[in-house]
Each structure stands twice: as C-alpha cells, then as structure tokens.
Assembly symmetry: C2
Homo-oligomer: 336 residues x 2
C-alpha cells in the first residue's frame, strides 16, 4: 500500500512526483500546466467577478451520495451559483495527514475532476501540504471559486427583498446532515438516506432565466434552513412567515431526527436552494424549478413580511406560531 | 480563557459572532462586508489575471520574524509578485482545532490584517471550520490570491530563459527554515537567526521597473534554493552553473546546518527571490535590488548554459563541480 509520507509535502522530488502523478494527471488543463507560482488567466469578460472560498473537513470522507472530493467542488460552485454568477475557475489546496493511502487520495481527486468537468470549470491552481500523523484527519480540502456575472442587472441582493415576496425551497431538507451522521456514528440503522450533494449551477440558471424578479438565493448548508432564513432576514432587514406544513422533509429524515433528537430545520443540506422571488413571479419560478430534476420537490414555504425585527416566524402544523431562531449550531460538527 | 469550541464552526449564532468579533473586525472592507456567499468585485482592468493558492501549516505558530498569520499573507502575495503580477485581493480560510485560545486566534488575525494592509490588498472572502481536538494542530490557514498583470509584454516565463542569462539571489539563504527548526525542536541553542518572512511585491516591482529583460523570478521556499533552481531548469529546458562561493549564507545558518546535518541550499526561505535576467541588464538589476532593504545582500550567483539535460551544476569552493539535484525534501516538514 502506497501511503503519504511527510516527504510528499516538503517541496522536493517526491512532492513533485505526487503532483504530476495524481493532481496534474486528473486535473490537467492548459492554465494549471503553466506550473508557475501563479496561474495566468485571460482577462474575464464580465460586469462583475464573484469570489468565494471554502474548506472541507467532512468525516467520513465517503458517504452515500458523495465524498469529500465531490463536496469540495459542489460547495464552492454552489456559493458562486446562488450569487447569480457563472462559475469559471477553481483552485484546490490539500492538507493531507501522513499515512493516507495514496489510492484514497486518487479516488478523491478523480471525484473532484469528474464534478468539476460536470460543472464546466477548470481547476487552475493548487497546493499540497502534509502534516504528521495525529495532526490532521486524513485530508482537508480548500477550494476557492471564481465566477462571472455578465449583466449588472442580475445582481442579487438581500436589500431587494420586500414584504409580500415569496420564499421557495428546491426540495427535501436535512438529507445531507442525517446521511453523514448516520454513516459517521455507525448507528447501525438501515435507512435509505443519501446526501443531496449536487451542483446547483444549472438550477440557478434556470431560475434566473425564467424571472427578472429573483431577489435573493442561498443554499442552506451548515445550520440548515432555519439558520439560512435568519441570515436572510438579518441581511434584508425583513421578517418572514414560514408554514411548517409546506416544508418538504422525507419521512426517513423525520424518523431519524426524532430518534437522534435533532430538528431537521437545523440540519445541513448540500444540494438545496432557498429562493426569494416576487409574488407575481413565484408560480412561474416554481414551475421552472420543478422541471429541473434537482428542483422536482420544490415548494413555496412562506412569505416575507414588512417587520424590521428580522424575525422568522414558523406557523406550526397545529396552527400555532413560534419564533424560528438561528441555531446555536453545536449539534453536527464536520458535516462539510 | 475563551477557547474555540465545535460550535464556532457549525454555522449558527456562535459561529456568526466569531466571524463578526474577530474576522470582520480586523479584515473589514466593503467587499467582505457584503456578507454574501460570494464576494462581488468590479471587473479587473488588466491584460491578465494571476491566481494562486497556498495552505499554511507551520509549527510553531509564532517564531522570530513572523507568525502563521504574517506568513499566510506573505507567501501568497509573493507567489503573485514573482509572476510579475500586482496583488489585489486575498481570500482567507481557517481550519481551527477545538480548544484554540481565542486570543491566539485574534493575534494571528491581527498579524494577517497588518500584513495585508502593508501589501495594499483586501481580504474579501473567508471561511471558518472547526475540527475536534487531536484532528488538527491549533490552526491551519489557506489564502488564495488574485493579482493583475497590466501589460502583456511583462509576462514572465521560463521559456524566455537562454544560455548566458544571469542568476541572482536577493539575499542570505536558509534563515527561515533554520529559525523555525530551532524554535520548534527547542534545541536550546542561543543563536540570533530570524525568519526572513517578508512581502516581496515592492522588490519585484523595483526589478521589473529597471529592466525590460527579466526572464523569470521565483521565491525559493519549500525545498530551498537547490529545488527552485532545478524547477527553473526543468521548466526552461536549460541548465545552470552556480558558484558556491557567491551564494550568500549567514555564518550562524552555516553553523546550525553543520550541527543539524542540513544543507542550507535545501532549506526554506520566505523572503528571498531568485531572478533570471539577461546578461546585459544583470548589473543594473543587481543595483536596483541592493537599493531595496529586502535586497541589500543580493548577489549574482551563476549563469544559464545551453544544455538540455536541465541540470544545475555547482562549482564548489574548492573548484570542483557537482550536480545540485532537486531535494528529496523529507528533512524539514511544516516550515510553511
């Protein structure tokens, strides 16, 4: 079994062989192959450039529906996509723990390469560091994404959100977090829940094409739907009323949440969107979302109200109303 | 003592308070404060865009002459600078081990903010992840840098290097690596060696301003001068003859290397340049470099020869010649 040693991160021949045999082999493109300290790009033809960075520390590395490699591409592409940007380039930096099986590394790198290809982006720069046994957890990956916004009129901002706007989610909530916790804790519960880890850039494009009145989009990852809605309320200085009965959640996820004591509204997703659209366009946006396989289960879950307390009110199934606060967030570490 | 807990990385209120109280407080700028999934930049006015990414895993976090925060800015700025680019934006992503003292985190963030300010760049996007005790080593930082090249004629490439070109280094070699190893191993040797960790973007600018015939620049970090010269020989498909007697190395570094069994030519630097210039311009380039405090000890150390074996030949002090190979690189892990 070939394993990563400290020499693989120390800048010499062994390091450079690893880069050639694993990273260049699978990520190959003209810009990366410049092999310079910086990669040079042609000037980007656009109105605005979008930039985002994310590190991925998920445990376990492989889970039903994905792996850390696929996630590291989807997560960053999705942050560009929800900003209305078209993803164009990614960088990838690896912090590897001494002793990692090189076949495992290659499997992760192949998954990254496949996902990047699907998103039509190139990985144009990279870095590899190796830390001693016990100073990491197999592998951590950082990706930084660069996207373009071609039309200034399509810049999404929470400031555009107004009372009466409609809140839509693109599908069932909590699948990613519950899948990962089930795998990780080896709960031995046989339940068919796959992570929703997906590229959202085509779905966001479909949404932007069908309506001029998309106010804001965000993917409810860490902290789940509840945290994302609270962030939007704070950024937009508005409040919202959400109807619990309309929030799509799989029965299996509800069951697991009851068993484990989690609230599915705080559980992470990696392939879902929250969309705020004008009331007039809401139905046609919903229809466009449902036509995309990733938005098949889209639902209108609530509306924005003019109320500067920046609250998220949940109308419960039994017709009560409670405040849906931002999570404290300590429940599920390392789900991304 | 306030310490980092898993909740600080889990996307809820505690996470968002950390971002406000530490990261936004010190990195504050209009683009970062958009607080969106992606940060939006104005279109970059340039001929080419330069992009580079680097993770920093150095141990110890603080050392004479710098700390992981300063290093994480200098390292990425320098990769842009040696490509002839003007650094304009950085992203910063943190992987923090549970239990890190928040005061230590803030000290590192302040050091990053000060160094970024000195380099005249803004940190425009970020990310924070927390891993359990024993799954990290206090803190790892990734920075990704974006720079601009205004003039297509100033694109540096190893392909431009020709026989007769001159090899210059900007000062003494090995200071960073030896300083860090001395601190880390607690050798108890009282020796006055500071890391050379510095921003090189003004020095590279000085060099490019004084000559139209700069062929290539690289900072000899991991793997040291020997590895960098070998990389240049391979990229440029040329060979070099280097004169050992002309390579500037402090007596203290030579002494420590003898004691520890290291070759200073393979020891990392974090504030030094290797410059390949045309023979005609070499003297004026050297003069310009010496005028900058960071290039005060610059020296011409050798020349390029037309020899497609891509070898680096070292003319030793006793007038022998030996091959200076690329390091195997296992000697000094985690010096950056």
């Amino acid at each position: 079994m070939r394993v990563i040693t400290l020499a693989h991160g120390s800048g010499g021949r062994v390091n450079s062989d690893l880069i050639s045999n694993i990273f260049f082999k699978h990520f190959q493109n003209d810009i990366l192959m410049q092999q310079n300290d910086s990669s040079l790009l042609q000037k980007l033809n656009c109105s605005k450039i979008a930039v985002t960075t994310d590190s991925f520390v998920i445990r376990p590395l492989f889970f039903p529906g994905g792996d850390i490699g696929k996630l590291s591409i989807c997560g960053t592409i999705n942050d560009l996509a929800v900003s209305g940007a078209k993803p164009v380039y990614l960088t990838a930096a690896f912090i590897i723990e001494e002793g990692l099986n090189i076949d495992t590394l290659e499997k992760i790198v192949v998954s990254m390469a496949q996902t990047a290809k699907k998103a039509n982006v190139n990985i144009i720069a990279g870095d590899t560091k190796v830390v001693e046994r016990g100073k990491g957890d197999k592998i951590y990956i950082n990706t930084t994404g660069i996207g373009i916004i071609e039309d200034d009129n399509r810049i999404l901002s929470a400031n555009n959100i107004k009372g009466g706007d409609i809140v839509i989610v693109s599908g069932t909530l909590g699948d990613h977090g519950i899948c990962v916790i089930n795998e990780r804790e080896d709960l031995g519960i046989s339940v068919d829940i796959k992570s929703d880890c997906s590229l959202l850039n085509i779905l966001t494009q479909d949404i932007l094409e069908v309506s001029e009145n998309i106010k804001f989009m965000r993917d409810p990852t860490r902290g789940g739907l509840a945290t994302t809605l609270n962030e939007i309320a704070e950024l937009g200085k508005i409040s919202m009323v959400i109807n619990e009965k309309d929030i799509p959640i799989r029965d299996e996820v509800i069951g697991m949440c009851e068993l484990l004591g989690f609230d599915p509204l705080y559980v992470a997703n990696e392939g879902k969107l929250v969309v705020i659209a004008s009331r007039d366009d809401a139905e046609k946006v919903l229809e466009a979302m449902k036509k995309n396989p990733l938005g098949r289960d889209s639902k209108i879950i609530g509306e924005v109200i003019d109320d500067n307390r920046n609250n998220v009110y949940l109308k419960t199934k039994i017709q009560g109303t409670r405040l849906l606060t931002m999570g404290e967030g300590e429940l599920l570490p390392r789900i991304c």
